[in-house]
Protein backbone atom coordinates (compact mmCIF):
# COMPACT_ATOMS: atom_id res chain seq x y z
CA UNK A 1 0.00 0.00 0.00
CA UNK A 2 1.10 3.56 -0.65
CA UNK A 3 -0.91 6.77 -0.53
CA UNK A 4 -0.43 7.19 -4.26
CA UNK A 5 -1.79 3.71 -4.88
CA UNK A 6 -4.80 4.44 -2.68
CA UNK A 7 -5.42 7.62 -4.70
CA UNK A 8 -5.26 5.55 -7.91
CA UNK A 9 -7.63 3.04 -6.33
CA UNK A 10 -10.15 5.76 -5.49
CA UNK A 11 -10.05 7.12 -9.04
CA UNK A 12 -10.28 3.74 -10.78
CA UNK A 13 -12.90 2.50 -8.32
CA UNK A 14 -15.06 5.51 -9.15
CA UNK A 15 -14.58 4.98 -12.90
CA UNK A 16 -15.40 1.26 -12.66
CA UNK A 17 -18.22 1.76 -10.15
CA UNK A 18 -16.60 -0.59 -7.64
CA UNK A 19 -15.89 -0.17 -3.91
CA UNK A 20 -12.25 0.25 -2.93
CA UNK A 21 -10.65 -1.59 -0.03
CA UNK A 22 -7.10 -1.25 1.21
CA UNK A 23 -4.86 -3.93 2.66
CA UNK A 24 -1.93 -3.43 5.01
CA UNK A 25 0.19 -6.49 5.75
CA UNK A 26 2.72 -7.08 8.49
CA UNK A 27 3.01 -7.41 12.24
CA UNK A 28 1.88 -4.60 14.52
CA UNK A 29 0.39 -2.56 11.69
CA UNK A 30 -2.49 -1.11 13.70
CA UNK A 31 -1.25 2.48 13.47
CA UNK A 32 -0.87 2.36 9.70
CA UNK A 33 -4.27 0.70 9.26
CA UNK A 34 -5.79 3.42 11.40
CA UNK A 35 -4.17 6.11 9.28
CA UNK A 36 -5.59 4.50 6.13
CA UNK A 37 -9.00 4.36 7.81
CA UNK A 38 -9.16 8.15 7.63
CA UNK A 39 -9.37 7.95 3.84
CA UNK A 40 -12.42 7.53 1.63
CA UNK A 41 -12.37 3.74 1.39
CA UNK A 42 -14.91 0.96 1.86
CA UNK A 43 -12.74 -1.04 4.26
CA UNK A 44 -9.20 -1.53 5.54
CA UNK A 45 -7.86 -5.05 5.87
CA UNK A 46 -5.19 -5.34 8.52
CA UNK A 47 -3.41 -8.54 7.45
CA UNK A 48 -1.67 -9.44 10.71
CA UNK A 49 0.63 -12.35 11.43
CA UNK A 50 3.84 -12.88 13.38
CA UNK A 51 5.39 -14.45 10.28
CA UNK A 52 4.82 -11.22 8.32
CA UNK A 53 7.10 -9.31 10.69
CA UNK A 54 10.02 -9.49 8.25
CA UNK A 55 9.14 -9.40 4.58
CA UNK A 56 9.48 -12.68 2.66
CA UNK A 57 8.17 -13.40 -0.83
CA UNK A 58 6.67 -16.71 0.35
CA UNK A 59 4.96 -15.20 3.40
CA UNK A 60 3.47 -12.17 1.65
CA UNK A 61 2.31 -14.23 -1.32
CA UNK A 62 0.54 -16.79 0.87
CA UNK A 63 -1.10 -14.14 3.06
CA UNK A 64 -2.36 -11.99 0.19
CA UNK A 65 -3.47 -15.05 -1.80
CA UNK A 66 -5.79 -15.90 1.09
CA UNK A 67 -7.10 -12.35 1.36
CA UNK A 68 -7.80 -12.21 -2.40
CA UNK A 69 -9.61 -15.57 -2.25
CA UNK A 70 -11.78 -14.22 0.54
CA UNK A 71 -12.52 -10.78 -0.90
CA UNK A 72 -12.55 -11.64 -4.64
CA UNK A 73 -11.51 -8.22 -5.98
CA UNK A 74 -11.66 -7.32 -9.68
CA UNK A 75 -8.51 -5.26 -9.55
CA UNK A 76 -5.50 -5.47 -7.21
CA UNK A 77 -3.16 -2.47 -7.19
CA UNK A 78 0.33 -2.22 -5.72
CA UNK A 79 3.00 0.48 -5.66
CA UNK A 80 5.84 -0.60 -7.98
CA UNK A 81 8.51 -0.99 -5.31
CA UNK A 82 11.41 -3.45 -5.09
CA UNK A 83 9.42 -5.44 -2.53
CA UNK A 84 6.32 -5.65 -4.72
CA UNK A 85 8.45 -6.69 -7.69
CA UNK A 86 9.74 -9.54 -5.53
CA UNK A 87 6.38 -11.14 -4.73
CA UNK A 88 3.51 -9.72 -6.83
CA UNK A 89 4.39 -11.69 -10.00
CA UNK A 90 4.29 -14.87 -7.88
CA UNK A 91 0.94 -13.86 -6.39
CA UNK A 92 -0.53 -13.16 -9.84
CA UNK A 93 0.69 -16.56 -11.07
CA UNK A 94 -1.33 -18.23 -8.29
CA UNK A 95 -4.43 -16.84 -10.04
CA UNK A 96 -3.16 -17.72 -13.55
CA UNK A 97 -2.76 -14.02 -14.10
CA UNK A 98 0.06 -11.69 -15.10
CA UNK A 99 1.07 -8.64 -13.11
CA UNK A 100 1.01 -5.56 -15.33
CA UNK A 101 4.04 -3.87 -13.84
CA UNK A 102 5.23 -0.29 -13.70
CA UNK A 103 1.93 1.19 -14.88
CA UNK A 104 1.99 4.94 -15.58
CA UNK A 105 -1.67 5.57 -16.43
CA UNK A 106 -5.01 3.81 -16.65
CA UNK A 107 -8.28 4.56 -18.33
CA UNK A 108 -11.74 3.08 -18.25
CA UNK A 109 -13.81 3.16 -21.44
CA UNK A 110 -17.26 1.58 -21.38
CA UNK A 111 -16.29 -0.46 -18.39
CA UNK A 112 -13.06 -1.74 -20.01
CA UNK A 113 -9.79 -1.10 -18.20
CA UNK A 114 -6.71 -0.20 -20.22
CA UNK A 115 -3.38 0.03 -18.43
CA UNK A 116 -0.53 2.07 -19.89
CA UNK A 117 3.03 1.02 -19.20
CA UNK A 118 6.43 1.83 -20.59
CA UNK A 119 8.47 -0.35 -22.91
CA UNK A 120 12.11 -0.10 -23.92
CA UNK A 121 13.01 1.84 -20.78
CA UNK A 122 10.51 4.58 -21.45
CA UNK A 123 11.22 5.10 -25.15
CA UNK A 124 7.81 3.65 -26.06
CA UNK A 125 4.51 3.36 -24.24
CA UNK A 126 1.99 0.57 -24.65
CA UNK A 127 -1.66 0.01 -23.88
CA UNK A 128 -2.22 -3.31 -22.13
CA UNK A 129 -5.49 -5.16 -21.67
CA UNK A 130 -5.95 -8.08 -19.33
CA UNK A 131 -8.40 -10.92 -19.89
CA UNK A 132 -8.95 -14.23 -18.18
CA UNK A 133 -10.50 -15.33 -14.93
CA UNK A 134 -9.36 -13.84 -11.69
CA UNK A 135 -8.41 -10.31 -10.72
CA UNK A 136 -6.30 -7.91 -12.74
CA UNK A 137 -2.98 -7.25 -10.99
CA UNK A 138 -1.11 -4.01 -11.59
CA UNK A 139 1.81 -2.22 -9.95
CA UNK A 140 1.94 1.55 -10.31
CA UNK A 141 4.99 3.63 -10.98
CA UNK A 142 5.97 6.12 -8.25
CA UNK A 143 4.67 9.57 -9.12
CA UNK A 144 2.16 8.35 -11.72
CA UNK A 145 -0.73 9.18 -9.37
CA UNK A 146 -0.65 11.99 -6.88
CA UNK A 147 -1.00 11.26 -3.18
CA UNK A 148 -2.40 14.75 -2.59
CA UNK A 149 -5.53 13.85 -4.58
CA UNK A 150 -6.38 11.19 -1.98
CA UNK A 151 -9.84 11.88 -0.56
CA UNK A 152 -10.47 11.74 3.15
CA UNK A 153 -13.27 9.75 4.70
CA UNK A 154 -13.83 7.09 7.26
CA UNK A 155 -13.40 3.35 6.85
CA UNK A 156 -13.74 0.39 9.20
CA UNK A 157 -10.63 -1.65 9.96
CA UNK A 158 -11.07 -5.41 9.86
CA UNK A 159 -8.29 -7.75 10.93
CA UNK A 160 -7.52 -10.69 8.67
CA UNK A 161 -5.39 -13.45 10.14
CA UNK A 162 -3.92 -15.56 7.33
CA UNK A 163 -3.02 -19.19 7.91
CA UNK A 164 0.76 -19.31 7.74
CA UNK A 165 3.34 -21.67 9.12
CA UNK A 166 7.10 -21.44 9.18
CA UNK A 167 7.48 -24.44 6.85
CA UNK A 168 5.86 -22.45 4.04
CA UNK A 169 8.44 -19.70 4.18
CA UNK A 170 11.64 -20.79 2.54
CA UNK A 171 13.48 -17.45 2.53
CA UNK A 172 15.24 -16.64 5.82
CA UNK A 173 15.91 -12.89 5.81
CA UNK A 174 18.52 -11.18 7.98
CA UNK A 175 18.35 -7.59 9.21
CA UNK A 176 18.68 -4.91 6.50
CA UNK A 177 21.92 -2.94 6.54
CA UNK A 178 23.65 -0.04 4.81
CA UNK A 179 27.12 -0.43 3.34
CA UNK A 180 28.93 2.61 4.70
CA UNK A 181 27.97 5.99 6.00
CA UNK A 182 27.36 8.30 3.09
CA UNK A 183 30.01 10.97 2.74
CA UNK A 184 28.00 12.78 0.08
CA UNK A 185 24.50 13.99 0.78
CA UNK A 186 23.14 14.81 -2.65
CA UNK A 187 19.75 15.64 -1.18
CA UNK A 188 21.20 18.83 0.29
CA UNK A 189 22.60 20.06 -3.03
CA UNK A 190 20.93 23.06 -4.68
CA UNK A 191 22.40 22.29 -8.08
CA UNK A 192 23.37 18.85 -9.37
CA UNK A 193 25.22 18.01 -12.56
CA UNK A 194 24.65 14.35 -13.31
CA UNK A 195 26.45 12.16 -15.81
CA UNK A 196 25.35 9.00 -17.62
CA UNK A 197 26.47 6.40 -20.10
CA UNK A 198 26.88 9.03 -22.82
CA UNK A 199 30.20 10.03 -21.27
CA UNK A 200 31.67 6.91 -22.88
CA UNK A 201 34.65 6.33 -20.66
CA UNK A 202 36.05 7.25 -17.28
CA UNK A 203 38.83 9.38 -18.75
CA UNK A 204 36.16 11.73 -20.15
CA UNK A 205 34.77 12.60 -16.70
CA UNK A 206 36.74 15.89 -16.37
CA UNK A 207 34.33 17.40 -18.95
CA UNK A 208 31.40 17.07 -16.54
CA UNK A 209 33.51 17.73 -13.45
CA UNK A 210 34.37 21.09 -14.93
CA UNK A 211 30.72 21.78 -15.76
CA UNK A 212 29.76 20.93 -12.15
CA UNK A 213 32.44 23.29 -10.91
CA UNK A 214 31.18 26.10 -13.16
CA UNK A 215 27.66 25.68 -11.78
CA UNK A 216 28.92 25.26 -8.19
CA UNK A 217 27.11 21.93 -8.30
CA UNK A 218 27.49 18.49 -6.76
CA UNK A 219 28.46 15.83 -9.27
CA UNK A 220 26.11 12.85 -9.49
CA UNK A 221 25.62 9.93 -11.86
CA UNK A 222 23.20 7.37 -13.19
CA UNK A 223 23.60 3.75 -12.18
CA UNK A 224 25.83 2.44 -15.02
CA UNK A 225 28.53 4.99 -14.14
CA UNK A 226 28.63 3.85 -10.51
CA UNK A 227 28.38 0.17 -11.49
CA UNK A 228 31.46 0.64 -13.64
CA UNK A 229 33.24 2.17 -10.62
CA UNK A 230 33.87 5.47 -12.41
CA UNK A 231 32.18 7.36 -9.60
CA UNK A 232 31.42 6.10 -6.07
CA UNK A 233 28.00 4.56 -5.39
CA UNK A 234 27.19 7.40 -3.00
CA UNK A 235 26.89 9.72 -6.00
CA UNK A 236 24.20 7.63 -7.64
CA UNK A 237 20.76 9.16 -8.26
CA UNK A 238 17.79 6.87 -8.85
CA UNK A 239 15.69 4.16 -7.31
CA UNK A 240 18.73 2.28 -6.02
CA UNK A 241 20.60 5.46 -5.10
CA UNK A 242 19.49 8.80 -3.72
CA UNK A 243 16.28 10.68 -4.49
CA UNK A 244 16.98 14.33 -5.05
CA UNK A 245 14.97 17.48 -5.65
CA UNK A 246 17.46 20.31 -6.26
CA UNK A 247 16.49 23.62 -7.78
CA UNK A 248 18.54 22.75 -10.88
CA UNK A 249 19.40 19.29 -12.25
CA UNK A 250 21.60 19.07 -15.33
CA UNK A 251 21.55 15.58 -16.90
CA UNK A 252 24.49 15.04 -19.21
CA UNK A 253 24.47 11.96 -21.45
CA UNK A 254 21.68 10.35 -19.41
CA UNK A 255 18.98 8.71 -21.50
CA UNK A 256 16.52 8.69 -18.59
CA UNK A 257 15.65 5.10 -17.71
CA UNK A 258 12.76 5.12 -15.29
CA UNK A 259 15.00 3.96 -12.43
CA UNK A 260 16.88 7.23 -12.86
CA UNK A 261 13.86 9.46 -13.45
CA UNK A 262 12.16 8.46 -10.20
CA UNK A 263 15.23 9.73 -8.36
CA UNK A 264 15.29 13.21 -9.90
CA UNK A 265 12.02 14.19 -11.52
CA UNK A 266 11.13 16.26 -8.44
CA UNK A 267 13.85 18.76 -9.36
CA UNK A 268 12.50 22.28 -9.89
CA UNK A 269 14.29 22.83 -13.18
CA UNK A 270 15.70 20.03 -15.32
CA UNK A 271 18.19 20.48 -18.15
CA UNK A 272 19.04 17.57 -20.46
CA UNK A 273 21.99 17.32 -22.79
CA UNK A 274 21.78 14.23 -24.99
CA UNK A 275 22.56 13.18 -28.53
CA UNK A 276 19.24 11.36 -28.93
CA UNK A 277 16.28 13.74 -29.22
CA UNK A 278 13.93 10.83 -28.40
CA UNK A 279 15.66 9.97 -25.11
CA UNK A 280 13.10 9.73 -22.28
CA UNK A 281 15.05 12.30 -20.27
CA UNK A 282 13.50 14.98 -22.52
CA UNK A 283 10.12 13.84 -21.22
CA UNK A 284 10.91 15.45 -17.87
CA UNK A 285 13.31 18.17 -19.01
CA UNK A 286 12.38 21.85 -19.00
CA UNK A 287 15.30 22.77 -21.23
CA UNK A 288 17.32 20.64 -23.59
CA UNK A 289 20.20 20.69 -25.99
CA UNK A 290 20.39 17.86 -28.49
CA UNK A 291 23.93 17.15 -29.58
CA UNK A 292 27.42 16.07 -28.69
CA UNK A 293 28.01 16.51 -24.97
CA UNK A 294 31.75 16.88 -25.55
CA UNK A 295 31.06 20.12 -27.43
CA UNK A 296 28.10 21.30 -25.38
CA UNK A 297 29.40 20.74 -21.84
CA UNK A 298 32.55 22.90 -22.26
CA UNK A 299 30.56 25.61 -24.07
CA UNK A 300 27.97 25.57 -21.30
CA UNK A 301 30.64 25.73 -18.59
CA UNK A 302 32.10 28.80 -20.30
CA UNK A 303 28.69 30.50 -20.61
CA UNK A 304 27.81 29.76 -16.97
CA UNK A 305 31.11 31.26 -15.81
CA UNK A 306 30.46 34.30 -17.98
CA UNK A 307 26.94 34.74 -16.60
CA UNK A 308 28.12 34.41 -13.02
CA UNK A 309 31.01 36.78 -13.52
CA UNK A 310 28.71 39.44 -14.91
Amino acid sequence: MSWETLAAGQQLGAALGEPVEAAVAGKGIGALAKEAAAKKLAKIWAVEHDLLDSYTADGYTAALEQLIQKTKPKLVLFPHTYQVRDFAPKLATRFSQVLVSDVIAARVESGMLTLVRQFFQGKLSGDVRVSGEGPVFASLQAGAWRADTLESGSAAVETFAPMLDTGQIRQKPEAPFREAARAVDLTAAEIIVSVGRGIGEQSNLPVVEDLAQAFGAELAASRPICDAGWLPMERQVGSSGQTVAPKLYVAVGISGAIQHLVGMKGAKTIVAINKDSNAPIFEVADYGIVGDLFEIAPALAAEVRKAKGA
Binding site: G126, F177, I289
Partner: protein, 256 residues
Protein backbone atom coordinates in the same frame (compact mmCIF):
# COMPACT_ATOMS: atom_id res chain seq x y z
CA UNK B 1 26.59 -27.38 -9.05
CA UNK B 2 24.38 -27.27 -12.10
CA UNK B 3 23.25 -23.77 -13.04
CA UNK B 4 20.79 -22.72 -15.71
CA UNK B 5 21.00 -19.12 -16.88
CA UNK B 6 17.92 -17.80 -18.65
CA UNK B 7 18.92 -15.08 -21.11
CA UNK B 8 17.08 -12.96 -23.63
CA UNK B 9 18.13 -11.30 -26.84
CA UNK B 10 16.97 -7.68 -27.10
CA UNK B 11 17.54 -4.79 -29.56
CA UNK B 12 20.90 -3.12 -29.06
CA UNK B 13 20.97 -0.16 -26.73
CA UNK B 14 20.34 3.12 -28.55
CA UNK B 15 18.58 1.34 -31.43
CA UNK B 16 16.11 3.57 -33.27
CA UNK B 17 12.72 2.13 -32.31
CA UNK B 18 9.53 2.49 -34.32
CA UNK B 19 6.16 0.82 -33.85
CA UNK B 20 5.50 -1.82 -36.52
CA UNK B 21 2.58 -1.50 -38.96
CA UNK B 22 0.52 -3.80 -36.70
CA UNK B 23 0.94 -1.22 -33.92
CA UNK B 24 1.40 -4.04 -31.43
CA UNK B 25 5.17 -4.35 -31.42
CA UNK B 26 8.24 -2.63 -32.86
CA UNK B 27 9.50 -2.89 -36.41
CA UNK B 28 12.49 -5.22 -36.04
CA UNK B 29 13.58 -5.09 -39.70
CA UNK B 30 16.75 -3.02 -39.44
CA UNK B 31 17.70 -3.67 -35.82
CA UNK B 32 20.77 -5.33 -34.38
CA UNK B 33 20.41 -7.46 -31.27
CA UNK B 34 22.47 -8.30 -28.21
CA UNK B 35 22.17 -10.06 -24.86
CA UNK B 36 19.89 -8.29 -22.39
CA UNK B 37 22.32 -6.51 -20.07
CA UNK B 38 21.04 -7.82 -16.70
CA UNK B 39 21.17 -11.34 -18.16
CA UNK B 40 24.85 -10.80 -19.00
CA UNK B 41 25.41 -10.24 -15.27
CA UNK B 42 23.46 -13.39 -14.43
CA UNK B 43 25.68 -15.33 -16.83
CA UNK B 44 28.79 -13.82 -15.27
CA UNK B 45 27.65 -14.85 -11.78
CA UNK B 46 26.97 -18.39 -13.02
CA UNK B 47 30.42 -18.66 -14.59
CA UNK B 48 32.07 -17.42 -11.38
CA UNK B 49 30.08 -19.88 -9.26
CA UNK B 50 31.17 -22.68 -11.56
CA UNK B 51 34.80 -21.59 -11.25
CA UNK B 52 34.48 -21.72 -7.45
CA UNK B 53 32.37 -24.82 -7.01
CA UNK B 54 32.62 -26.77 -10.25
CA UNK B 55 29.64 -28.08 -12.18
CA UNK B 56 27.92 -27.02 -15.33
CA UNK B 57 26.42 -23.82 -16.77
CA UNK B 58 23.54 -24.28 -19.20
CA UNK B 59 22.19 -21.31 -21.13
CA UNK B 60 18.45 -21.20 -21.78
CA UNK B 61 16.98 -18.76 -24.28
CA UNK B 62 13.59 -18.34 -25.93
CA UNK B 63 13.57 -16.42 -29.16
CA UNK B 64 13.70 -16.59 -32.95
CA UNK B 65 16.53 -18.05 -34.99
CA UNK B 66 18.62 -14.90 -34.63
CA UNK B 67 18.89 -15.53 -30.86
CA UNK B 68 21.38 -18.30 -31.71
CA UNK B 69 24.02 -15.59 -32.15
CA UNK B 70 23.54 -14.37 -28.57
CA UNK B 71 23.54 -17.96 -27.31
CA UNK B 72 26.81 -18.62 -29.16
CA UNK B 73 28.35 -15.58 -27.48
CA UNK B 74 27.33 -16.92 -24.06
CA UNK B 75 28.95 -20.25 -24.92
CA UNK B 76 32.09 -18.41 -26.01
CA UNK B 77 32.25 -16.74 -22.59
CA UNK B 78 32.29 -20.16 -20.96
CA UNK B 79 28.82 -21.68 -20.69
CA UNK B 80 28.93 -25.43 -21.35
CA UNK B 81 25.86 -25.94 -23.51
CA UNK B 82 22.56 -24.31 -24.41
CA UNK B 83 18.86 -24.88 -24.90
CA UNK B 84 17.21 -22.68 -27.50
CA UNK B 85 13.41 -22.53 -27.40
CA UNK B 86 12.91 -21.47 -30.97
CA UNK B 87 9.87 -19.28 -31.56
CA UNK B 88 9.05 -16.31 -33.74
CA UNK B 89 6.07 -15.45 -31.57
CA UNK B 90 7.83 -14.29 -28.39
CA UNK B 91 6.25 -10.82 -28.49
CA UNK B 92 2.74 -12.32 -28.60
CA UNK B 93 3.29 -14.27 -25.37
CA UNK B 94 2.88 -12.69 -21.96
CA UNK B 95 5.22 -13.20 -19.01
CA UNK B 96 3.30 -16.24 -17.82
CA UNK B 97 3.45 -17.80 -21.29
CA UNK B 98 7.20 -17.30 -21.60
CA UNK B 99 7.84 -18.49 -18.03
CA UNK B 100 5.80 -21.65 -18.72
CA UNK B 101 8.00 -22.51 -21.70
CA UNK B 102 11.18 -21.79 -19.74
CA UNK B 103 9.99 -23.81 -16.73
CA UNK B 104 9.06 -26.75 -18.96
CA UNK B 105 12.57 -26.71 -20.44
CA UNK B 106 14.17 -26.44 -16.98
CA UNK B 107 12.28 -29.28 -15.27
CA UNK B 108 14.03 -32.29 -16.89
CA UNK B 109 17.42 -30.65 -16.32
CA UNK B 110 17.00 -30.71 -12.52
CA UNK B 111 19.37 -27.78 -11.90
CA UNK B 112 20.57 -26.64 -8.47
CA UNK B 113 20.24 -22.98 -9.33
CA UNK B 114 18.50 -20.89 -11.98
CA UNK B 115 19.76 -17.38 -12.62
CA UNK B 116 18.32 -14.63 -14.77
CA UNK B 117 18.60 -10.87 -15.07
CA UNK B 118 16.20 -8.81 -12.98
CA UNK B 119 14.43 -7.41 -16.03
CA UNK B 120 14.64 -7.16 -19.79
CA UNK B 121 15.60 -3.98 -21.55
CA UNK B 122 12.70 -4.33 -24.00
CA UNK B 123 9.60 -5.34 -22.00
CA UNK B 124 10.96 -4.38 -18.60
CA UNK B 125 8.34 -6.46 -16.81
CA UNK B 126 10.90 -7.83 -14.36
CA UNK B 127 8.89 -10.95 -13.62
CA UNK B 128 10.10 -13.90 -15.63
CA UNK B 129 12.35 -15.31 -12.90
CA UNK B 130 9.75 -14.92 -10.16
CA UNK B 131 6.99 -16.53 -12.21
CA UNK B 132 9.31 -19.36 -13.23
CA UNK B 133 10.12 -20.05 -9.57
CA UNK B 134 6.41 -20.26 -8.74
CA UNK B 135 5.77 -22.63 -11.66
CA UNK B 136 8.73 -24.81 -10.62
CA UNK B 137 7.68 -24.71 -6.95
CA UNK B 138 11.07 -23.44 -5.77
CA UNK B 139 12.02 -20.39 -3.67
CA UNK B 140 13.35 -17.22 -5.27
CA UNK B 141 14.75 -13.83 -4.54
CA UNK B 142 15.25 -10.78 -6.75
CA UNK B 143 17.66 -7.89 -7.27
CA UNK B 144 20.57 -10.02 -6.07
CA UNK B 145 24.10 -8.61 -5.84
CA UNK B 146 26.03 -11.62 -4.47
CA UNK B 147 25.57 -15.36 -4.11
CA UNK B 148 27.33 -17.45 -1.47
CA UNK B 149 27.00 -21.23 -1.55
CA UNK B 150 26.42 -22.75 1.89
CA UNK B 151 26.04 -26.35 3.06
CA UNK B 152 22.27 -26.26 3.20
CA UNK B 153 21.65 -23.87 0.32
CA UNK B 154 22.61 -20.32 -0.53
CA UNK B 155 22.95 -16.95 1.16
CA UNK B 156 22.34 -14.00 -1.14
CA UNK B 157 22.73 -10.25 -0.86
CA UNK B 158 19.57 -8.53 -2.00
CA UNK B 159 19.36 -4.85 -2.83
CA UNK B 160 16.60 -2.88 -1.14
CA UNK B 161 15.71 0.72 -1.92
CA UNK B 162 17.61 3.85 -0.88
CA UNK B 163 20.99 2.21 -0.39
CA UNK B 164 19.85 -0.61 1.92
CA UNK B 165 20.75 -4.26 1.52
CA UNK B 166 19.76 -7.52 3.13
CA UNK B 167 21.11 -11.05 3.30
CA UNK B 168 18.66 -13.89 2.75
CA UNK B 169 19.22 -17.62 3.09
CA UNK B 170 17.24 -20.19 1.16
CA UNK B 171 17.48 -23.84 0.19
CA UNK B 172 18.32 -25.09 -3.30
CA UNK B 173 17.07 -25.41 -5.94
CA UNK B 174 16.16 -21.75 -6.23
CA UNK B 175 15.70 -18.98 -8.79
CA UNK B 176 17.60 -15.70 -8.46
CA UNK B 177 17.00 -12.54 -10.49
CA UNK B 178 20.36 -10.80 -10.65
CA UNK B 179 20.99 -7.06 -10.45
CA UNK B 180 23.24 -5.41 -13.05
CA UNK B 181 26.64 -4.19 -12.04
CA UNK B 182 27.29 -6.79 -9.35
CA UNK B 183 30.31 -8.24 -11.20
CA UNK B 184 32.69 -7.16 -13.89
CA UNK B 185 31.65 -8.76 -17.17
CA UNK B 186 34.22 -10.90 -18.95
CA UNK B 187 34.93 -10.86 -22.66
CA UNK B 188 35.01 -14.01 -24.75
CA UNK B 189 38.56 -15.12 -25.48
CA UNK B 190 39.65 -16.32 -28.92
CA UNK B 191 39.96 -19.81 -27.47
CA UNK B 192 36.45 -19.47 -26.03
CA UNK B 193 35.01 -18.44 -29.38
CA UNK B 194 36.70 -21.41 -31.03
CA UNK B 195 35.47 -23.85 -28.40
CA UNK B 196 31.92 -22.49 -28.59
CA UNK B 197 31.59 -23.75 -32.15
CA UNK B 198 31.56 -27.35 -30.99
CA UNK B 199 29.32 -26.84 -27.95
CA UNK B 200 25.81 -28.21 -28.02
CA UNK B 201 22.79 -25.96 -28.70
CA UNK B 202 19.67 -28.07 -28.34
CA UNK B 203 16.72 -26.60 -30.21
CA UNK B 204 13.23 -27.23 -28.91
CA UNK B 205 9.90 -25.92 -30.12
CA UNK B 206 7.13 -24.53 -27.89
CA UNK B 207 5.01 -27.53 -29.01
CA UNK B 208 7.58 -29.94 -27.53
CA UNK B 209 7.30 -28.03 -24.24
CA UNK B 210 3.53 -28.38 -24.00
CA UNK B 211 2.62 -25.52 -26.34
CA UNK B 212 2.46 -21.77 -25.97
CA UNK B 213 -0.31 -20.56 -23.64
CA UNK B 214 -2.62 -17.82 -24.89
CA UNK B 215 -1.74 -14.45 -23.37
CA UNK B 216 -3.95 -13.06 -20.60
CA UNK B 217 -2.18 -9.70 -20.74
CA UNK B 218 -1.81 -8.40 -24.28
CA UNK B 219 -0.33 -5.26 -25.76
CA UNK B 220 -3.09 -3.56 -27.74
CA UNK B 221 -0.97 -0.76 -29.07
CA UNK B 222 2.58 0.47 -28.74
CA UNK B 223 3.49 4.08 -29.49
CA UNK B 224 5.91 6.93 -28.94
CA UNK B 225 4.78 8.57 -25.69
CA UNK B 226 3.14 11.94 -25.86
CA UNK B 227 5.19 14.47 -24.04
CA UNK B 228 3.47 15.71 -20.94
CA UNK B 229 5.98 18.49 -20.47
CA UNK B 230 6.98 21.11 -23.00
CA UNK B 231 10.74 21.02 -23.32
CA UNK B 232 12.44 24.08 -24.77
CA UNK B 233 15.14 22.78 -27.06
CA UNK B 234 18.00 25.07 -28.00
CA UNK B 235 19.46 24.67 -31.46
CA UNK B 236 22.49 25.87 -33.30
CA UNK B 237 26.15 25.35 -32.57
CA UNK B 238 27.23 24.43 -29.04
CA UNK B 239 28.15 27.97 -28.04
CA UNK B 240 24.89 29.53 -29.26
CA UNK B 241 22.76 26.81 -27.68
CA UNK B 242 24.68 27.07 -24.40
CA UNK B 243 24.29 30.85 -24.33
CA UNK B 244 20.52 30.59 -24.93
CA UNK B 245 20.22 27.99 -22.18
CA UNK B 246 22.13 30.09 -19.66
CA UNK B 247 19.94 33.10 -20.53
CA UNK B 248 16.83 31.02 -19.71
CA UNK B 249 18.32 29.54 -16.54
CA UNK B 250 19.15 33.01 -15.32
CA UNK B 251 16.08 35.02 -16.26
CA UNK B 252 13.24 32.50 -16.75
CA UNK B 253 13.96 29.65 -14.32
CA UNK B 254 16.03 31.97 -12.09
CA UNK B 255 18.25 29.18 -10.85
CA UNK B 256 21.62 30.76 -11.57
Amino acid sequence: MKIIVAIKQVPMRDSPLHPAASGKWIDEADLSFEINEPDAYALEEALQLKEKHGGEVVVLCAGPERAAQTIREALAKGADRAIHIETDALASLDTLGVAKLLAAAVTPEKPDLILTGLQSDDLGAGQTGVVMAELLGVPHSTIIMQVEVRDAGIRVKRELENGWFQHIEMPLPAVLAMQSGSNKLRYATLMGIKKAKSKEIRRVTPAELGGAAAAVASVEKIYVPQKSKQTQIFEGDAKTAAAQLVEKLKFEARVL
